[in-house]
Structure formats: C-alpha cells, structure tokens
Symmetry: C2
Subunit: 245 residues, 2 copies
C-alpha cells in the first residue's frame, strides 16, 4: 500500500526527520556521496532532496563547498517563537468555532498524554540517556496537543508555516534538569494547555487566541531559561548548537 513517489521525496522526508529529531546535529556537513550510498541511490536524487531542505531552511547550500545542517542563533530562535505565537494564535482562533465534542475529547486526550509526559520528566530529574529520551517524548506530546488544533483549524498554509517555524527549534531540543524553578515553568505550560481547552469549550475564539499566544511566548521563556542554565553549551555530550546572540 506504498504510495508512489520519487526517491528524492523519500530521501527529503527521512533527512528532514533526522534533522528535526537532532540525529543530524546542526553544523554537520552533509557529504553528498555519503548520503547517496547510505540511501543506495546516486547523487542526483540526493541533491534534489537537499535543494528542498534548503528551501525549507533546514540546511544551507554553499556553492562548491557543500551543504550543512543549519545552526540557529538566539535571536533567530526568539523570532521563530514570535512567528509561532502569531500563527498559532490565529490557528486557534480559526479552530475555535469548528471544535466538535469529538475534537474536544481528542484534545483532552492529547493534553492527558502531555501531562503524563510532563510528570515523567519531572520524576526523572537526573541527566542521562533516559532524561534525554523523556525530553523527546515530552516534545512529541506537546506537538501532539497543538497538532489537534491545527487539524481542526484546517488551514494548510498556517499549519505548514507554523510547523516550519517549530522545526527551526526542534533539532536543538535539549532540556534542563529538574529544579523548583524549572518545575514551575513546566507547571505553567501544562496549566496553559488546560486554559486553552477551557476557552475552546466555552466557545471563545478571542479568548483562545489570546491564551494560545501567551502560551507560545511563555514557551520561549522556558526555553530561554534552559539556555541560560547551559550557557556553557554542553549537555550529555551534545552541543546545544544555539549560538549566543
């Protein structure tokens, strides 16, 4: 039941996932020949895939020098969250009148999963592989919540652009260890999700919109707080790859 498509497209998707997940670290130089043998194809479709990723802003081409996974500065990160705040609040406003009972239930289920992921993360404050894994699951659960809203909004362009802005950060996902201050931020994140649900349930597009906006901006505070703690730029042997702005 495999949907027919070109190799270039498939490669682009795999590489995109690898970059977003952080498997391919920002700054890494991608050798075309290496990729072509990894995917068992020639360099032609590989180059086409890389062109697509370049247009998406995930990698940068330097003529005759190669392509590397894009790094991001703190300023760019801030800008990405500002964009997400606007687009996500818009999506939420558009979605509000369209939410059905079933949609609300799905959103609540996603929020429950997110809440669980948050608790698991808080219960494992020690650094290490496990916390790394839990962090990734936390991120996925968080995306799961917001994706329900995007789906209901049924606004393809907004969804595409917002997720593009989201991606610019994903590959840099490193999280802070537990602590009362960090915990409070996690708590707020969780609480704000519930507030958005409440606004949607109450049928208030304007309210949901405002809450969504604040929520994304607060998410940046959380991230900035983490980056502050790790200004040395190293955690678990993984570089943060966010350049100081």
């Amino acid at each position: 039941m495999m949907l027919e498509s070109t190799k270039a497209d498939e490669i682009a998707l795999v590489l995109e996932e690898a970059i977003v997940s952080g498997e391919l670290e920002p700054g890494l130089v991608l050798r075309q020949e290496e990729l072509s043998e990894r995917f068992a194809v020639s360099r032609t479709p590989v180059r086409e895939a890389l062109r697509r990723l370049a247009a998406l802003g995930l990698v940068s081409f330097v003529p005759n020098r190669g392509v590397r996974v894009r790094t991001i500065t703190l300023d760019e990160l801030r800008e990405a969250f500002l964009v997400r705040a606007e687009l996500e609040s818009l999506a939420t406003e558009l979605a509000a009148p369209k939410f059905t009972k079933a949609d609300l239930e799905e959103l609540e289920a996603a929020e429950s999963a997110f809440s669980r992921a948050t608790q698991e993360l808080r219960a494992q404050p020690r650094e290490g592989i496990d916390r790394w894994r839990l962090t990734h699951e936390w991120v996925r659960a968080n995306h799961g919540f917001h994706d329900v809203i995007y789906r209901v909004a049924s606004a393809p362009l907004i969804e595409r652009l917002a997720k593009s802005a989201r991606r610019s950060f994903s590959g840099h996902a490193v999280w802070a260890p537990g602590g009362s201050e960090t915990d409070a931020l996690y708590e707020r994140n969780d609480f704000e999700h519930r507030a958005i649900i409440a606004a949607l349930r109450a049928g208030s597009p304007a309210g949901a919109r405002a809450l969504a906006r604040e929520h994304v901006l607060h998410s940046f505070d959380l991230l900035a707080h983490v980056l502050e703690q790790f200004s040395n730029g190293e955690q678990n042997g993984r570089r943060l790859h966010v350049e100081r702005g």
Copy 2:
C-alpha cells in the same frame, strides 16, 4: 562584480520572478527540456531549481507527470491574507521602536510613490495593456511601502514567510476597472498607509500593529471585490486563475 552562484539558483530566481509576475500563468505545465534549452543548460540544474520552487509552494510536482505552476483557490487566498495580516502586524510592531528619522523619510517616499501609482491607475479606468501595466506598477509600489517596514524590522524569518504568503497571490494580480466603489477601496488603502506612518511617527508599536493588521485584511476585501466583479474569470484575455471556493 557578479556574485558566484550555481546555475540552479539563478534559474530558480528567474523562474520565481516569472511566476510571481504572472508571466508564467498558474496551471501552466513546465516542460523540463523546454526550460533547459531556454536557459541553455541541461535538465539537471533545471530540476534542482524546480525542487526549490516546489518547496516554496510556487509549483507542484506530480511524479512522472511533470510540474505545473500552482493555482490557488479563494480559500487559500483568504488564508494567505490572514497569515500576512498576522506576520505583517508583528513586523510593524517590531519595527516601530527601531524607526529613525531617515527610515520614516524613506517610508514616506515609498508612500508618495504608491500614492502616485494609485492616482495613475485611477486616471486610467479603461481596460487594456496600459491598465495592466499600471496595475503591476501599483503592486510593485505597494510592495515597496511594506518592504521598508520589513527592512527596519530586520526580522529575516518574518520577512521571508510574509513575502512567501504575498507571493501566493502575486501571480494572480489582475485588477478591476475603475468605478466609484473600487475607487473608495483604493482610497482607503492609501489612507491606511498614511495612518501606519502616523502611528510609527507617534512611536506607538501597538497602534501601528493594529493598523497594519487591519490594512492587510482590508486589502483582501479589495481583492475579493475585484474577484467578485470578474467571476467569469476572464480579463484582457488573461485568466484570473483563482478557482472558486
């Protein structure tokens, strides 16, 4: 003083301009071989250029069937303007505190040019090649105004995404003939530009933001009004290429 770059990049830029300007009409199938001989290169860089345009949403690939210039539905058009409204208002807010005297003067100069273009367009209500040309100049002058704001905001991501949303419409630029109702809409467009300048001069980020948002949304009203008049989809032998939503 030619900046070194690859042929694929150059071709992509030329094709992008051709699509945005409407020279290559939406729906048109782009034959790779035809393009390759037009640019005097092989199909390889042409395909890479097309991949980039596809990622930008300007063309759509259909595996083994070819690539065609993307068409747009009325719903998609509306969505693009909603996005632009959010991003442009954000950019305006960010730019507000950064505006210098020189920047304001540049913005006023751009507005003057836009105002002139508007008057010229209104003075030539008859359809025909000339009105087509004046319309294009009007669009360019309008972009010129907004581009000053983007520059001052110095927010590359926002600028890129907003212009991307703007592009989704540009290739479809067809304008209505004169008339009291249309003239009033033009008038409002011009007036709103001046209001934004006033807010920036007064140093009100919040005010400028709100005005910019309303302005973009009103622009959609103007466009929708035009499309209403030409629901038959034909003008000067050029198709509107906006599918009915």
